[in-house]
Symmetry: C7
Subunit: 94 residues, 7 copies
């Protein structure tokens, strides 16, 4: 199964922060603050949204920062996704 976003919607997958301490111990993501970094999984076709033409500017595979409190969490096949409007994506991390 696969999510095909409508109009200016973007499907994101939150990045699991993983860190290795100096002594080599890997800290699992759950023990840390959740980052707002996510990977772009699928991008809507854009088009006219609320009477305004929207051109999509993000691409699948990009790492992005998105706005806190934005988006809808969705669970599909046991995986968690966040669907946001492109406007809720603040920056691309390069």
């Amino acid at each position: 199964m696969k999510l095909v976003p409508l109009t200016d919607r973007v499907v994101l997958k939150q990045l699991e922060a993983e860190e290795t301490t100096a002594s080599g111990i890997v800290l699992p993501g759950a023990a840390q603050e959740k980052p707002q970094e996510a990977e772009v999984i699928a991008v809507g076709p854009g088009g006219v949204v609320d009477g305004k033409e929207i051109v999509m500017q993000v691409k699948e595979g990009q790492k992005v920062i998105y706005s806190k409190y934005a988006g809808t969490e969705v669970k599909l096949d046991g995986e968690e996704y966040i669907i946001v409007r492109q406007n809720d994506i603040l920056a691309i991390v390069e």
Copy 2:
């Protein structure tokens, strides 16, 4: 009886999640978290809504993810439906 949605309204029917455990026991939907997946039952004709031309992009029979808190629950002939605006549909599940 049948619901004929106006303008950009879409009639949805929530999917009953059903699961079979490894040992073959079927868990009824009520014992699980409600998914936001729904089947499209009827689609409005689109047209000018709030002064903006809306083209319908979903079709009857599609499985969609819709926005939590959106829509109006309606009961007809003992069946429960949710009527949402197309804009509250986030993605199609393929």
Copy 3:
């Protein structure tokens, strides 16, 4: 006396749900959950509302589903009506 709605207003009359049990006892509407079904009593002429052209799409006598929390209740000659904007009508029941 008669209500003549302005612009995109629609006068509705809530349908009194009446049910006959298997043994033939009629349950009065008051003992049941109020449905959001209503009959269209009068339809405004449409026209420019908030700078946007509105074309009326419902007709007198139709049975419709309208949005909860929408509309103003009005009592005229002992009869109760609800006046809503056409935009608060979600679907026609056919």
Copy 4:
């Protein structure tokens, strides 16, 4: 003294409900629920309001239903009036 409403404002005077019981006793309005019926006392000239052309559709002397919570109560020469925008008038009672 006389109120001359600006733009799309309408001056209303609430109708005093008066009722005669079967035995001929007149119940004063104060003992009853306030109706939302009012008589149109004065109508503004219409024109451009918030950048949109408004054409006035009600006339002096008409009996109208207006929206609860709308309007400003005004006292002039001991008489009470309500000034509403035409958009807060729901229907004309004929």
Copy 5:
């Protein structure tokens, strides 16, 4: 010193209600309910406000009714004024 309002702003001065009882005693305004009547002291030049052309329709010296809760109270040289947008003026009292 003098207040020169910008764009669609209007400077008002609340009218001090003064009343003479039948026996000739003058009741000072403070002992009475504050009316929403005011005299127009100065009128802005109008022009484009929020992208919309506003034409001023009130004049200095007119007596007007303005919307409760609207406007900003200003004290200048010991005198109190209220600065409102023209849109908050409901009617002219003639």
Copy 6:
């Protein structure tokens, strides 16, 4: 250091009310109610703001009345300023 406001922003400096009593004693500003009068320190270039052309109408050195609750207080080199949108300036004091 100097504040250069963007678009329709205006930098204001609140006027310190100073008063001499009849007997010649000067009351410092802190003992009095804060006036909403301010001097214009710097004026943005105007231009398109939210899709609307804004022409600046106030000038450096003018004394203005601005809207309570509007603006952002800023401290620079120990001096306090208020940055408001021109739309929050109600009137010029001449």
Copy 7:
């Protein structure tokens, strides 16, 4: 890693206020009130935002004052940034 803001977004880095007392002791920033001054780190390309053309007016390296409560705090490689819309930048400090 580097933040590339979308549309009218601007990446800021708050300035760490550092002060040397008369006797030469350096007070660390944490002991003081946080200023709203920030340095511009990266500027989006502008373009059409909500149907309106936005031209970027700030540049990398400028010191700016931005609106309290605006923006989203972001942590990247242990550094803290604030991503704001250009409209939340009030003035440039020169």
